[in-house]
């Protein structure tokens, strides 16, 4: 029974001229977005790899110079796009992809494509994810808002129910029919995109690609289910087709456009992002003052006796390491807690904002889906922070390596100001620092933040289902 209702629904939709238009447009857009996504993604990844190799080589070939000057020359970390960035580019346009790693300073990733785009870019990315998040719900609404209301107006509902079909069967049949149409359009296009990407030959080992794709499919199916059952619920409840359409389109506009922006503003108000000037002034003041109120120079003076004792020396002259290098490294280390505190403050703000936005998913299912989708694509904030952390760890190691080398190799300089015979490092010294490579943490780690989002989507689906069943039970056969 349900299957035959579904089949009738399916063929009715597919025969509708308007459907051919809508579905055609949707498929065209999806395919365009997928093709563009693949092309951009593989071009980006090529450039990222090329650039990382180049700067790694530049680090080695920076010329013979003092090892610490080498640390000032530094190196760059370029961010890989994320395994499914071709589908959902997430924050990549807004997060910076080049992080300069140098002595004394922790930097932000710079080079945000959004700053280099015209303001048209701010309308967003036409990506597969965007189409499924924003357009697919509208497609479902268009296909389904007449499901009950339309049949009621044309009188066929009365006819159908007189044949002994239960309301519940009618609901499931219609859900199945419309769901099949939507799955057909989106599934085919997304699969085509995936195929195209695999042809570009990008390797994505160690990124649990299978799990990502499966969870992505699950999340979007839940999302589609929410809109499907909400549409059927409203169609069954509404007095007429007009009301059903108004209510559904209104909800869609709210969930997909209004809610995300409102959630962002609310989260910014609840957990303000410090302004750059304020943040910079705070951190630099703190740096100069010292983490616990003792400025670096004074602190080094205070600690020098204990430090010398570690080396079994009583004076600078007896030190087995070059004091200048020791001081450089100590100063570097004095800054660590200051950086951690201030960069940490910023990340806390970002993370709290993200969590609040996720929690606001109870008013709009687009919010949790969006968040999940970015994480599964590897284009989210969590991964960006991982990248920045990896770069900072690398920077510290890089600077310590050259400083320590300078300390040991230039110990003779302690006996006096050495003038001309200061130490020069060559490629062999710089080669002690391994090339930078970003190894993202596993998917499980990132997903542990998202249990709430899965729950939110599941709750939405349950609520939509409940509403649909309730509305079908109280289905009125005649309109007003």
């Amino acid at each position: 029974m349900i299957v035959s209702i579904a089949r009738k629904e399916f063929s009715e939709i597919v025969r509708d001229g308007r459907f051919k238009w809508t579905a055609g447009m949707m498929a065209l857009l999806l395919l365009t977005a997928m093709a563009a996504g693949c092309q951009k993604h593989s071009a980006y990844m090529d450039m990222q790899r090329l650039s990382q190799d180049r700067t790694n080589a530049q680090w080695l070939n920076q010329g013979n110079k003092n090892p610490h000057a080498g640390a000032h020359y530094g190196n760059y970390a370029f961010k890989p796009a994320g395994p499914l960035a071709f589908f959902d580019n997430g924050i990549n346009h807004y997060a910076g992809n080049a992080l300069f790693m140098e002595a004394h300073k922790q930097n932000f990733a710079l080079g945000r494509p959004a700053t280099d785009q015209s303001s048209i870019g701010r309308f967003g990315d036409l990506s597969g994810a965007m189409i499924l998040q924003l357009l697919m719900p509208l497609l479902i609404i268009f296909l389904g808002f007449t499901a009950f209301a339309g049949e009621r107006e044309s009188g066929t509902l009365r006819q159908a129910l007189s044949m002994g079909v239960s309301n519940r069967q009618l609901l499931w049949g219609k859900a199945l029919g419309i769901g099949a149409v939507v799955a057909l359009i989106t599934g085919l296009c997304v699969a085509a995109g995936g195929l195209a990407l695999s042809l570009t030959g990008l390797s994505m080992e160690n990124e649990s690609l299978g799990a990502r794709v499966a969870l992505m499919a699950l999340s979007y199916s839940l999302y589609a289910g929410i809109f499907l059952f909400l549409t059927l619920a409203v169609s069954a409840w509404a007095k007429n087709v007009r009301t059903a359409l108004m209510v559904l389109v209104g909800f869609w506009a709210f969930a997909a456009f209004l809610a995300p922006k409102a959630a962002v503003e609310i989260s910014k108000a609840a957990h303000p992002t410090p302004a750059f000037g304020q943040w910079m002034a705070d951190m630099r003041t703190h740096q100069m003052r010292g983490i616990d109120g003792v400025p670096p120079f004074a602190r080094f003076q205070q600690e020098s006796e204990a430090l010398f004792a570690e080396y079994g020396a009583e004076s600078v002259a007896e030190l087995p390491v070059y004091v200048g290098a020791l001081r450089l490294q100590k100063f570097e280390e004095y800054d660590f807690p200051v950086f951690e505190q201030h960069f940490g403050r910023l990340r806390d703000a970002y993370t709290r904002q993200r969590r609040l936005q996720d929690r606001l998913g109870i008013v709009a299912p687009t919010l949790p889906l969006r968040s999940l989708s970015m994480t599964l694509a590897g284009t989210d904030l969590i991964r960006h922070i991982q990248f920045a952390d990896a770069a900072e760890a690398y920077r510290r190691e890089m600077v310590a390596t050259v400083n320590n080398y300078l300390g040991e190799a230039a110990a003779s300089l302690n006996s006096g100001y050495g003038g001309g015979n200061v130490l020069i490092a060559d490629e062999a010294v710089f080669a002690m620092v391994p090339p930078f490579e970003f190894a993202p943490q596993g998917l499980g780690k990132a997903l542990s933040e998202h249990a709430g989002n899965f729950v939110a989507l599941a709750l939405w689906l349950a609520a939509a289902l409940g509403l649909a069943i309730g509305a079908a039970r109280r289905l009125k056969v005649d309109g007003d």
Binding site: R18, K65, Y94, D125, F276
Partner: protein, 492 residues
């Protein structure tokens, strides 16, 4: 006759609970947007104040040192001398006497002041810093820092008044006019009305006029309230002129959507079909076409790669550096603080460090300039894509009107680059002469005042967007009236 219908329609509108709810929603959205816009501007100003206070604090400290030093010289006798560059506190003249140190160790923050209407459209101001540091450091440092907003927030975009106007206002307009004729037809009142001496065209114009009148009065009142609440410079011509432009652009944009509603209604479909057609059109014009335009633009005219620039600039830097490195096998130019006191070469180190920076700047800057001009070329090509969507035109127009456009920002940066040369020359000359800075010299430091563009320039840049919208509006008005003759009042 039209007056009768307009007043009847207006009464009908206010009788409808849905319409009253929509008005309330619009008011709520504008209030929320004004609040958000205000917070964004406040944040910019706070950031600029803190950055400026930090750097000015440095300079003031240096000045205070020179004052003390001057007093000491006056008391003890002797000559007011120039200090060699180093960091630690010493017995000799303070660092504040060294123009090279003052000019390179402290920065001057230049501000792009927000216009009176800035909270209306955040534009790119959440990404680009509205305050930039200028020092003797290479010019590229001016644009090195970014605003620190959460990338997720940047991606989502601001809930500002521009968003309400561009995204939400059309929804409200379509919601009150999508069934302009179809509902009367479905209710049967259309035949009742048209049995009287009134033409369909007059009826429709009146119905639209009633809705547009009510809605526009509401938008104007809300805009005015927002301006009074969060706008700035309410006494200045500039602010009110910008508000006037805002109102005009919003009117044009709103009329376009009303015309679209008429266009669809004239087609004679039922309300549900009209609703679908209009919701689809909204999605297409406001969401799909702009993103498609962005995609086309970045595919046809891709922006040059920052990554490529970075590695190329680094190559140029290495080459420029190696010339100095060969001679100066030192690292002190990075660390003047370690130069032993009294070492005469300290003077040279700063000189060499400056020369080195200068050489790097000269080697790297052409790459950046080329990059920038490539970006500008791309931007001007991309701007042609605005004409395919009223939403893009409106966004560009509102950014322009609110003073958050890319062009105004570039105008500011050009002034900043010029000022950097002035600032740099001032200190370089004094440093190379080894002329000690006296406290009174601190009053002679170059000052910066942003020179606002002439209003005519703003208008000139607005013109394409407004003209484009006017053309679209014209098209949207003319087409439907041609179709009215065929409108089926009675169905067979």
């Amino acid at each position: 006759m039209k007056r009768i219908i307009i007043s009847h329609e207006t009464r009908q509108l206010f009788r409808s609970g849905a319409f009253r709810a929509l008005l309330l929603l619009l008011a709520g959205a504008v209030a929320f947007a004004a609040w958000s816009g205000q917070r964004s501007i406040d944040r910019q100003i706070e950031g600029a104040n803190a950055a400026a206070a930090f750097e000015d604090g440095h300079r003031n400290k240096m000045r205070a040192d020179t004052e003390k030093y001057q007093a000491r010289v006056a008391a003890e006798g002797g000559e007011y001398q120039f200090a060699s560059a180093r960091h630690g506190a010493g017995e000799g003249p303070p660092q504040g006497t060294n123009a090279g140190v003052v000019g390179s160790a402290t920065a001057k923050y230049l501000r792009l002041p927000p216009t009176g209407l800035a909270p209306f459209s955040v534009g790119q101001s959440d990404i680009q810093l509205s305050y930039v540091p200028v020092s003797m450091n290479p010019a590229i440092h001016i644009t090195r820092d970014n605003e620190l907003e959460n990338p997720v927030n940047l991606m989502t975009g601001s809930f500002d008044i521009a968003f309400v106007v561009i995204f939400l206002l059309p929804i409200f307009i379509l919601a009150i006019s999508y069934d302009l004729l179809s509902s009367e037809k479905e209710r049967g009142t259309l035949a009742m009305v048209l049995a009287h001496p009134i033409s369909l065209k007059a009826l429709m114009v009146s119905k639209i006029a009633a809705r547009a009148g009510v809605l526009f009065a509401a938008v104007l009142a809300l805009g005015l309230a927002a301006l009074l609440a969060v706008g700035d410079g309410l006494g200045s011509f500039d602010t009110w002129a910008r508000f006037g432009l805002w109102a005009a652009a919003t009117l044009l944009y709103a009329l376009f959507w009303f015309a679209l509603s008429v266009l669809v209604n004239v087609h004679g479909g039922n309300s549900a079909a009209n609703g679908i057609a209009l919701a689809g059109t909204w999605l297409a014009l406001v969401v799909v076409v702009p993103t498609l335009a962005g995609l086309l633009a970045t595919t046809l005219y891709p922006a040059p790669s920052r990554m490529e620039l970075t590695t190329a600039a680094r190559q140029a830097q290495t080459e420029a550096e190696s010339a100095y490195m060969a001679r100066l096998s030192e690292y002190y130019y990075d660390h003047l603080e370690f130069v032993p006191e009294g070492d005469e070469r300290a003077m040279d180190f700063l000189t060499v460090a400056m020369a080195n920076r200068n050489a790097i700047d000269k080697a790297v800057r052409p790459l950046h300039d080329e990059f920038q001009s490539q970006l500008n070329r791309q931007e001007s090509l991309v701007r042609r894509f605005q004409f395919i969507s009223p939403a893009i035109m409106m966004q560009l127009a509102l950014n322009e009107i609110s003073g958050t456009s890319a062009d105004r920002y570039e105008h500011f940066l050009n002034q900043a680059f010029d000022f950097r040369d002035e600032w740099s020359d001032f200190f370089t000359v004094r440093f190379l002469r080894r002329a000690p800075l006296k406290p009174s010299d601190y009053d002679q430091f170059p000052t910066f005042e942003y020179q606002e563009e002439p209003f005519a320039t703003v208008l000139t840049r607005l013109l394409p967007s407004l003209a484009g919208m006017l053309a679209l509006l014209g098209g949207a008005i003319l087409i439907p009236f041609a179709g009215l003759r065929r409108y089926p009042v009675a169905t067979s």
